[in-house]
Amino acid sequence: MTFCGLDLAHPIVNGSGTYDAIAARRAFGDALLAHFPFSAFVSKTITLQPRDGNPPPRLFETPAGMINSIGLPNKGLDGYLAHDLPELARLPVPLITNVMGATADDIAALVEAVDARPEIDAVELNVSCPNVKTGLDIGADPVELGSVVARVRPLTVKPLIVKLTPNASDVPAAAQAAEAAGADAVSLINTLRAYAPHPRPGAHPPRPWLGGGTGGLSGPAIRAVALAQVRAVARRVAIPIVGMGGVQTGRHAAQLLDAGATLVAVGTESFRDPAAGTRIQHELHDLFAKSGDIVNRRGDV
């Protein structure tokens, strides 16, 4: 199949920040390359400057899901290009690099740097971040989002994917703004903002469990939300959609494709099974074989 001009073996990719292919190579050896679970690899979010991430605790288990408050640890743009990219370039699949900046200038610098590297096949913008100059959550405000996408669109010929935030009053309006400003695709849903109280109640004042205060909810708990948001966005934009949120089986992936997604990303389920992407792809393939070919219906966009 093709997605934004990239040839992909199947529609299952990873969600940004849910798989570290370099660490997984250490844990699983060359089997990771021989049986890579995804048809493209999406990097974790890269920022201009290195980040240590949030203080622990960073995780909280919920009913049918989890809250993370990781805080986007990464080596920064220079560290990523110098140390991570050579290793990621050895993966047997196309590489999508996810970037985030707190100002339009930062995002532009990231997109320009990524555009210059032939090992990178596409760019994904993480816009679930406040603009430090305007104070607006970039992805939550369609005008702000449209202006940022319009600013960086001319800076790269690579496919530009905008990862929408679900923590917005009108997600389809944000998707439309991204499309109008030249985005090649949108991806959704990111994690839902969530809070975990400290498990020992009675503290005064009440304390959060997570070191970062709040976090993002993922896992099957958010699957129904993902289906609703993907369906609503698909009705308003013509560009392809990377759908994600709580996918655990091929049937769940097929539901997102039916809702209008072209690709499906697996995130939290990979934590439970590092080969979940492969299993889900096989289950999806078997479903298609039984009930008609969704890939051909939506494959060439």
């Binding site: 920040g17 849910t18 798989y19 570290d20 370099i22 660490a23 997984a24 250490r26 844990a27 699983f28 050896g29 089997a31 990771l32 049986h35 679970p37 240590d52 991430g53 203080p55 622990p56 605790p57 960073r58 995780l59 288990e61 919920t62 009913p63 049918a64 899901g65 989890m66 993370n68 990781i70 640890p73 896992g219 939290t268 990979s270 934590f271 439970r272 099974d273 590092p274 080969a275 492969t278 299993r279």
Partner: protein
């Protein structure tokens, strides 16, 4: 930082993906449950490595509709092709795992992480000294098995809350045992009292420790004060076990964090300014 053995000696890579085992045997040991499961498709782990475990049925629907994520456990030992795990019921995940019996399905991913490194053999040779607390006894058992098989002495000091927990001491050979309440063992008090006395007697040791954070911090501090190398097997909540989630980080002495699942769980004590409280 002192190197503690080549990574290849401390890490056996895991097969990619979880695999379903069948529990062959469950037995209770005081406050603990030991599960044994044949793992015909898995490689032999290095001592100190861990596995992510989940029950194949009814994983979810417990207290607070949990568990959801798999749980990390150091391997207790390998015997007759069976992986052994030492469990204590302390929450919805361990409660479900402790229910499992012979014939029940068990999802495992592993072996994961970096295990223990051999004691420095350069003269004057340092003896291995094992120091465990509670369920932290587990990785010391497989390490003692290997050290004894290599012909090395591996004396063990173990601390437990009370007599019911101290039954876990039977998992190691010839341990000296401390209990918090004095209801069992050789010493009424902390296992670190025993460790301090041992090191004051003869500081030519490499200490291998696993246990609750306050115990590990005491081990770290008293080894640092005596310039004794120590390898600490730490624990942290983790979602994945293979470096994906970035949840299990521990702050290092030099700033920044390491992920326990890929850079540990066994860390050189010199890497840490202190053992974090959770």
């Amino acid at each position: 930082m002192r190197a503690i053995g080549a990574a290849s000696e401390r890490r056996t890579p895991a097969p990619l993906g979880r695999r379903r085992l069948r529990v062959a045997e469950r037995h209770e040991l005081g406050a603990y449950v030991v599960l044994a499961a044949p793992d015909p498709d898995g490689p032999a782990p290095r001592p100190g490595q861990f596995y992510m475990l989940a029950a194949a049925e009814r994983w979810g629907g417990g207290a607070d509709e949990r568990p959801f994520l798999p749980r990390a456990f150091s391997v207790l030992r390998v015997a007759d092709g069976r992986l052994h795990f030492m469990l204590e019921d302390v929450g919805p995940g361990t409660a479900r795992l402790c229910e499992l019996g012979a014939g029940d399905g068990l999802w495992v991913t592993g072996p994961l992480g970096l295990g223990f490194g051999a004691p420095d053999a350069r003269p004057p040779a340092r003896r291995a000294l094992l120091c465990g607390g509670g369920v932290g006894t587990a990785p010391l058992a497989i390490w003692q098995d290997e050290l004894l098989a290599r012909g090395l002495a591996a004396p063990a000091l173990l601390g437990f809350r009370d007599a019911a927990h101290a039954e876990g001491a039977a998992l190691l050979a010839n341990p000296r045992v401390a209990t918090d309440d004095g209801s069992a063992g050789d010493h009424h008090g902390l296992v670190t009292d025993l460790l301090a006395a041992e090191l004051d007697d003869d500081p030519h040791a490499t200490v291998y420790a696993c246990g609750p954070p306050p115990m590990l911090e005491a081990v770290r501090a008293l080894c640092a004060a005596r310039d004794v190398p120590a390898q600490l097997a730490l624990e942290a909540g983790m979602a994945c076990g293979f470096g994906a989630c970035f949840g299990c980080v521990v702050p290092t002495r030099d700033g920044g964090y390491v992920r326990l699942c890929v850079d540990g769980p066994v860390l050189d004590a010199g890497l840490l300014a202190e053992v974090p409280a959770h």
